[in-house]
Amino acid sequence: MTLEIVAAALVGGLLTGGVYALVALGLTLIYGVLHIVNFAHGSLLMVAMFAAWLLFARFHIDPYASLPLVTLVMFAFGWVLYRFVIARISRGEDRAILLATLGIAVVLDNAALVLFTGDVRTAETAWSFAMVEAGPLLLPAAKLVSFGVALALGCALWLLMTATDTGRAIRAVAHEPEGARLVGIRPARTFALAYGIGTGCLGAAACLLLPSFYVSPQIGHVFVLVAFTIVVLGGMGSFPGAVVGALLLGVVESLGGLLLGESLGPIGVSLSFIAVLLLRPQGLFGARA
């Protein structure tokens, strides 16, 4: 095992982590701030990716170009989903929310299966195989783009939550719905807005993921655990934490694959999650709950 191989794995892990961060940022808002256990997060990513893929396959629109549209559509979809399904079904109760989002995940996953069959789809664009030379390493351009956008998105979300009225309203409602109502904020609308922003992030993530990844109805499962691990690892509700957590997880996964082989490598994610939950549930950046 040479230094070059390890370095490549590290860098590769960081880049993958950038992609993971994109997926986790939305969940950081939904789960970390609102404490909605959004079990549908992975499935919603899958839906967004299929949307991006359809635009590419039918209308030849490059996913990078359709990003604004997909983001908007996913925002709207998430808003409606929360307002008219999740909120109605769960009436705010924790276990009900858990089960409602699980139900949504199951419906979305299988609806996709029915509509698109289990086949794997890809969208090969100019970016899919482009490489960038960085010293001795060859880095996938698409992943570099994702990495950059993830950092930018993380900053944007952090700014949104700390420096804008909307962000403050969201945090207020998450903390104290009744108090928020007393100062004129509408909890139901605000939760829906926040959920929509979260799914909007997934829209962006989907467009950035598609060129270098694939989509099939099953990918929801793959990403759900990753996303939750990152959110808890980073410290619930912390956007910088989520980015760091994502990079860390990417590296763990990459090194895991290097050290344990391709079959056993993926265990890095589950073990990391279990370890964080059992040993440090407040994550790297969170305060003790």
């Binding site: 256990v37 409602a100 139900g103 199951v106 299988n110 029915v114 289990g118 655990l225 079959s263 056993l264």
Partner: protein
């Protein structure tokens, strides 16, 4: 009263496959009974204990692989699969319970950690030669009592019914017993339970262990009937979700709930197959039923039959 009627009706229904000659009917009934068995296992932790688990496939898979490995790797009698599987399921349930509850995990955190454990087991099963890796384990066909394989599906069905009866008896005992009362108390208020001399950690871990043991027997039965197991069948998320669905739809925390849930879900599967053979239709309907139950019938079908008594 309603419960007694329903129980009698179900018992009668259970005997039908013995009367009719159709093997496909028996196969269907078998699947329903296994689903009910697994759901009853889940219900002990998730329903009676309020410990919502998203990774109960751990226990199913442990039982399934235990019996497969005993035969394929160690040449032991498959009949050992039941006690060994149950013990392993119980042990793992206890260990996971102690670890998770000592760390203070509850609610959604607990659900997620069970999911992570199930995924970890899946990856391990997928990577070890001992477990057959991604190809899984195929049990050689050898019909006969000593090899725990039956040419007539009706025998498997009878065994499944027997195991289900045991599981239901355990559920009923839970309802009446001191342990069950303590579990309910811990579920409702851990602090108040502590003040009355109950140690929540022990009670919850024990419930998870009991749940694990019962669920594992379902895994054993499944593998012995279909003679094949692989990491996804054993530990995959679909398995975990199915168990949860059966109990929630039928009525979590009731004895007969998982039975009714299994019947409803089996009915949906068959009904949707009549309409369309596209894969995914039946599970999609399950998802919709779950949403309907959570939103409209939080107590499940059982409580609907009882007139929505609180």
């Amino acid at each position: 009263m309603i419960s007694r009627i329903v129980a009698i009706a179900l018992a009668a229904l259970a005997l039908v496959p013995f009367a009719l000659p159709s093997q496909s009917l028996v196969s269907l009934a078998f699947l329903a009974v296994v689903a009910a068995l697994l759901g009853t296992g889940w219900n002990i932790a998730g329903g009676f204990g309020g410990l919502t688990s998203f990774g109960h496939a751990i226990f199913f898979g442990v039982g399934a692989y235990a019996t497969a490995l005993l035969q394929a790797r160690h040449g032991l009698s498959p009949w050992l699969g039941l006690p060994v599987g149950a013990m392993l399921g119980g042990l793992i349930g206890w260990l996971i319970g102690v670890a998770a509850f000592r760390a203070g995990l509850r609610g959604s955190y607990f659900a997620l950690v069970t999911l992570a454990f199930a995924e970890a087991f899946r990856v391990i099963a997928n990577s070890l030669d001992y477990t057959g890796g991604g190809l899984g384990i195929l049990i050689p066909l050898r019909p006969g009592l000593s090899s725990f394989q039956f040419a007539d599906r009706r025998t498997s069905y009878a065994l499944a019914l027997a195991l289900l009866a045991v599981a239901l008896a355990v559920s009923a005992w839970l309802r009446r017993s001191r342990f069950g009362a303590r579990l309910a108390a811990v579920r409702e208020s851990e602090d108040a339970a502590r003040a009355l001399g109950i140690e929540p950690l022990h009670v919850k871990a024990a419930a998870l262990a009991l749940s694990g043991a019962i669920t594992a027997t379902g895994g054993v039965l499944y593998t012995q009937t279909y003679l094949y197991i692989d990491p996804t069948i054993a530990f995959g998320p679909e398995r975990s979700v199915e168990m949860l669905l059966v109990a929630m739809v039928g009525g979590a925390g009731t004895v007969l709930g998982p039975l009714l849930g299994a019947l409803v879900l089996q009915g949906i599967t068959e009904g949707s197959r009549a309409l369309s053979t596209t894969p995914g239709v039946a599970p999609m309907l399950y998802g919709l039923v779950l949403l309907a139950v959570v939103g409209l019938l939080p107590g499940g079908i059982v409580r609907l039959l009882r007139g929505r008594a609180a």
